[in-house]
């Protein structure tokens, strides 16, 4: 097939700076979230209070979306043999619109300033829409639509819907014209952004990285073929139920979606337990934590349909965002950043390098993992106990500062000339 001079440049990885700028920004917003808790968040009990909305987006946009967008720049060549056009302009542009937009958003929501809300929405929506369309146009050109690519496409469609809904609810706030359907549209925004975009993207990435990084068995063919389709269609059904006030329909689809995600959690854990290479590193602990938290979050959210206690939903959302999504993404960063550093140096001809597992070191990631667990517990505690404000703020700050330190350590070698000379004996 294609050889040396087929002119095929599609398989070229982007320069390290492109994904790395997103990866490093994520824990910085995590640090900001910690400071924000210290200053302004005495409790997480009141959903949709201004401070909780602000804090939520430091995590969801500042951390989750930031890494997931950066990772897409990296993964596209590997999973689809495709690449973003104009990636050298697109990546810094999306990155700065999103970072700047998020800061304005935080100010706009927290101080309830209309103009800032609108400016932030325009900046961030522009970044997301550019990202969605350029990724989709690269993905649909892939020669071979693998289950991972299919999951990416559905997750991007969900993100698109989530952003349209976000625009609507933000404009409602900015014009203080909150309609009766606001709550339903808000729930749909949460559904499509968390379950749809974050959840399906993680599923698609798992299809690829669980067998690769952990030498585990592949996911079942049936699951790979149908899972994301079922989730996406059920989400449309659920949203329809929400907006038309049809509780039966809503509940039916909610149970359906939950089952597909729980199946994913259980399958992933069983694949990891039976993996061939039994080496245990921090990233494995992150995967186990993430999968169990995913299952707990879904069960709590289902239980809420029965008990009707809104606090259950709040706890479920915290566990989904901080316990599931942030865990898995942090674990992934600990694999991907050292791998990319190793790869780019190898590609430049450096030999005798430390293996990728030695670049950060197990001790540092283990300490950070425990900080993460404590910060998750303290965020859940903050729903019930106001006295935890300082504790929660400090541990969220420390945990993210530690991630930042570890990522810098994992990629430093690439940037330090001294490191390069030392290696190249």
């Amino acid at each position: 097939m294609f050889g040396r001079d087929s002119g095929l440049s599609l398989d070229q990885a982007p320069p390290l700076q492109i994904p790395l700028r997103f990866f490093v920004t994520a824990p910085i917003f995590g640090i900001v979230a910690g400071l924000f808790i210290l200053a302004f968040v005495p409790s997480l009990a009141a959903r949709s209070s201004l401070e909780v909305i602000t804090l939520t987006h430091f995590f969801t946009i500042g951390f989750l979306a930031m890494v997931m967008i950066g990772a897409m720049f990296q993964m596209l060549p590997v999973v689809a043999g495709a690449r973003f056009k104009y990636q050298n302009i697109l990546a810094p542009l999306i990155h700065s619109l999103l970072s700047g937009g998020l800061i304005v958003f935080a100010y706009g929501i927290y101080t309830y300033t209309s103009i800032a809300m609108i400016v932030a929405m325009v900046l961030m929506a522009f970044a997301f829409l550019m990202f969605i369309f350029s990724t989709l146009s690269a993905l649909i050109k892939a020669k071979n639509v693998t289950p991972t690519i299919k999951a990416f496409i559905f997750s991007l469609l969900s993100l698109f819907i989530a952003i349209l809904l976000a625009m609507h609810i933000t404009i409602s706030h900015a014009t203080t014209d909150i309609s009766t359907s606001h709550q339903a549209l808000l729930n749909a925004h949460i559904l499509f952004s968390l379950m749809g975009w974050v959840g399906m993207l993680i599923i698609g990435v798992s299809f690829q990285v669980v067998p690769m990084f952990y030498v585990a068995e592949s996911y079942p063919e049936f699951y790979k073929k149908h899972a994301v389709k079922v989730i996406f269609i059920s989400m449309l059904g659920l949203a329809f139920g929400l907006i038309n006030d049809n509780y039966q329909l809503y509940l039916l689809f909610k149970i359906f979606i939950s089952l597909v995600f729980i199946d994913y959690g259980v399958t992933t854990v069983s694949r990891l337990i039976t993996r061939k290479r039994k080496i245990s590193d921090t990233t494995i602990h992150y995967w186990y934590l993430a999968m169990s938290m995913l299952i707990v979050a879904l069960l709590l959210s289902l239980a809420n349909e029965y008990f009707n206690n809104y606090l259950l939903n709040t706890v479920a959302a915290i566990i989904f965002i901080y316990g599931f999504a942030m865990s898995i993404i942090t674990g992934m960063l600990y694999k991907v950043v050292p791998f990319l550093t190793w790869f780019h140096l190898t590609n430049q001809g450096y030999m005798n390098m430390p293996t990728m597992n030695d670049l950060i070191g197990k001790k540092l990631t283990t300490i950070q993992f425990y900080l993460h667990v404590v910060s998750l517990a303290s965020l859940i505690g903050l729903v019930f106990i106001n006295d935890l404000q300082v504790v929660a703020g400090v541990v969220v700050f420390l945990s993210n500062a530690f991630i930042l330190y570890n990522l810098i350590k994992g990629s430093k070698l690439y940037f330090t000339k001294q490191g390069l000379e030392k290696m190249n004996f």
Binding site: G81, S218, K276
Partner: protein
């Protein structure tokens, strides 16, 4: 032709094994790497180091990459 099965190794070992085998090649030799996915990053390094390769897709999770020196 020498064959190296890298399917049971996590990154970055498959690439290390493939590059090691490639750099040990004599001028007309070839080496076959058995992989469970298409190793795009490896292709890039091979090209940069002056090797050429062919890719055979045998199944959705079975690929043979045959590497030789020069073009």
């Amino acid at each position: 032709m020498k064959e190296i099965d890298v399917r049971d190794y996590p990154p970055c070992e498959p690439m290390e094994m493939a590059l090691e085998a490639a750099s040990a090649l004599k001028s007309n030799d070839k080496v076959k790497i058995i992989h469970k996915q298409i190793p795009y990053p490896l292709f890039e390094v091979l090209k940069n180091r002056g090797f050429s390769y062919t890719l055979e897709e045998l199944d959705t999770d079975l690929f043979h990459i045959i590497i030789k020196k020069g073009s």
